[in-house]
């Protein structure tokens, strides 16, 4: 039986993290009342003149440099013409002839041998949002998103499986977030992908006819869509059929894709240089300045955490999963806490609190200074980890200084040997059966007894002392 190879190329659209739109001063804030962030420029009223937002060029340069693109010395904007109600000007300002970056690359995380070539990166404006109104059977248009800056990152068809495509997306997403280019909130549409899929007989070189699925905004859907689309094409070829070059729509609920429009019906966008916007010259001084102010990339952070702070590869990877965790780690260490302590607390207690509260890591309001103080109290044997956990839980809802809180509530660790001895003795007295079990050789009984002492001390007893005292007193029971 013939075997096939799947070929995938991705066009990723990402909304930039700017305050204002790409060509006017309207706000880019998400989720506001419809049409409240509009002006003559983004509404395409006659006579309005677009002016490029400097930060858009800066963020685009950042991404181009981080993906080893060659920078176009003089970059320009073109008009892409089409009639559709989400686009009031009837053209989108984009870049066709001189995109800001070309010929870049991105290395995948789990497929180290696969280097994905980036064909180009270009700047453009987002379109408005259409919703269907079932009452009037008409469409409603909100132009708030119109003119929000986008970068389109076009890969070469270098990906060979759904797993590789998802790796590419995850790697790119992380890079965009750490560079401060985009918040990449997929549920808000700030990262979307057009997925191009074709198949060819294994061992052959020529690319097969491709189909495109547009505007996909969840990793899960993209993975499923690629698997289904490549299988659909293989089945079709095996039955002696032909692949049509067309745009298909992926229906996540039905787990099927449907033909939308074929190449014959494809639009002619009548691209031409936009006469409203002068060219943007990216000289060496500008590029050097962007390069110098480039935020640290996730993989650079990972290796620094391992070398400078002796964290494990696993910890370093987890802590660079999102910019917030990395910055929490760095700031808490900068407040004087021990790196290993901070790492273990963030990956343990902090993330646990997020899971129980069903929230994002950045939703917890504990400040790095307070976390550092809490961790230093554990390190200096002022409180036990158990006490620290309950103080931390309290800190989630209250602005407190953990040191004064511990002092005022008498939560300091009990180190006094006489006090502890008394506590242990009374526990052993009350747990006759466990003592017998231990003496009969059941080690587990000791753990239970230690637990009882800790409980009696409300978590404050010095665990090392308790361990030692329980052992000593149990041995005394052994002697007649």
């Amino acid at each position: 039986m013939t075997t096939y190879e799947t070929i995938i190329g991705l066009e990723v659209h990402t909304e930039l993290q700017t305050d204002s739109k790409i060509f006017c001063s309207c706000s880019t804030r998400f989720g506001q009342q419809p049409n409240t962030q509009c002006c003559p420029v983004c509404l395409g009223l006659p006579g309005a003149l677009p002016v490029l937002n400097r930060q858009v060029a800066e963020l685009a340069l950042r991404l181009c440099l981080a993906t080893d693109c060659s920078i176009t010395p003089v970059t320009r904007f073109d008009r892409k013409n089409y009639f559709y109600p989400d686009l009031p000007k009837a053209y989108q300002i984009s870049q066709l002839h001189e995109p800001i970056g070309r010929n870049g690359q991105l290395c995948l995380k789990d497929f180290p041998e696969r280097v994905v070539r980036i064909h180009e990166i270009h700047m453009e404006e987002d379109a408005g949002k259409l919703t269907h109104d079932p009452w009037s059977d008409q469409s409603l248009v909100d132009y708030n998103r119109c003119g929000v800056p986008l970068l389109e990152i076009v890969s070469e068809p270098d990906l060979r499986s759904a797993e590789e495509a998802l790796d590419y997306l995850a790697t790119l997403r992380k890079l965009l977030m750490f560079l401060g280019v985009s918040d990449c909130r997929m549920e808000q549409g700030s990262l979307r992908a057009d997925v191009n899929v074709s198949v060819r007989k294994t061992g052959t070189q020529a690319l097969g006819t491709r189909t495109e699925m547009k505007n996909m905004n969840s990793f899960k859907a993209i993975g499923r869509a690629i698997i289904h689309e490549s299988q659909r094409q293989i089945d079709l070829l095996n039955e002696g059929g032909m692949i049509l070059q067309e745009t298909r729509r992926w229906d996540e609920n039905k787990e099927m894709s449907f033909a939308m429009r074929s190449k014959e019906n494809a639009q002619d966008y009548r691209y031409f240089p936009d006469p409203d916007l002068p060219p943007v010259k990216l000289d060496k001084a500008w590029i050097d300045r962007v390069r110098q102010n480039m935020p640290e990339r996730p993989e650079q952070k990972q290796s620094r955490y391992q070398h400078e702070w002796r964290l494990s590869a696993y910890e370093a990877e987890q802590l660079t999963d999102e910019p917030f965790l990395a910055s929490l780690l760095e700031q808490t260490i900068a407040c004087g806490a021990n790196p290993a302590d901070v790492s273990s607390w963030i990956l343990g207690e902090w993330l646990q609190a997020c899971r129980s509260g069903n929230c994002d890591a950045s939703d917890l309001s504990v400040q790095p200074e307070s976390l550092a103080k809490l961790l230093e109290m554990i390190r200096n044997n002022v409180i036990t980890r158990t006490t620290a956990r309950s103080v931390f839980t309290y800190m989630l809802d209250h602005q407190i200084d953990p040191e004064s809180y511990v002092r005022e509530h008498g939560l300091a660790m009990v180190n006094d040997l006489d006090d502890l001895k008394q506590m242990v003795a009374s526990v052993l007295e009350a747990s006759e059966q466990s003592v017998k079990d231990y003496l009969a050789g059941k080690e587990k009984a000791k753990t239970y007894l230690i637990g009882q002492v800790m409980r009696k001390s409300r978590g404050k007893a010095n665990p090392a002392h308790v361990n030692k005292l329980v052992e000593e007193l149990l041995e005394q029971h052994r002697q007649p």
Binding site: S25, P34, L45, F83, P85
Partner: protein
């Protein structure tokens, strides 16, 4: 752009379709005027098409300047009613248009 296509482009049907999409009410006289004007413009391009411009750097922009940029400062927008008032139909703060779902 080929010559044959130029002739098709300025047909009466094209003029009335563009007018409809742009919500322009053109009477017969006006349609004639635009048909004539557009033909003149396209004829002009036909003349330019005679020349071989393969080696010529395109004039991307009419003016000789670059890097006209603004800082990333968001400013409050005017009330949406100012713009919604220009539309033929509105609903719930949105512009209402004929059903457009792909």
């Amino acid at each position: 752009m080929s010559e044959a296509k130029n002739d098709e482009l300025v047909s009466r049907e094209v003029i009335s379709r563009i007018a409809k999409l742009a919500r322009l009410d053109l009477d017969d006289n006006e349609q004639n005027t635009y048909e004539h004007d557009l033909e003149t413009i396209l004829d002009h391009f036909k003349k330019i098409n005679v020349y071989d411009t393969k080696q010529v750097e395109p004039a991307y922009h009419p003016h000789d300047y670059e890097n006209k940029l603004r800082e990333d400062d968001a400013k409050p927008s005017r009330p949406p009613q100012d713009w919604l008032a220009l539309a033929k139909q509105v609903k719930d703060g949105c512009y209402m248009v004929p059903k457009a779902v792909e």
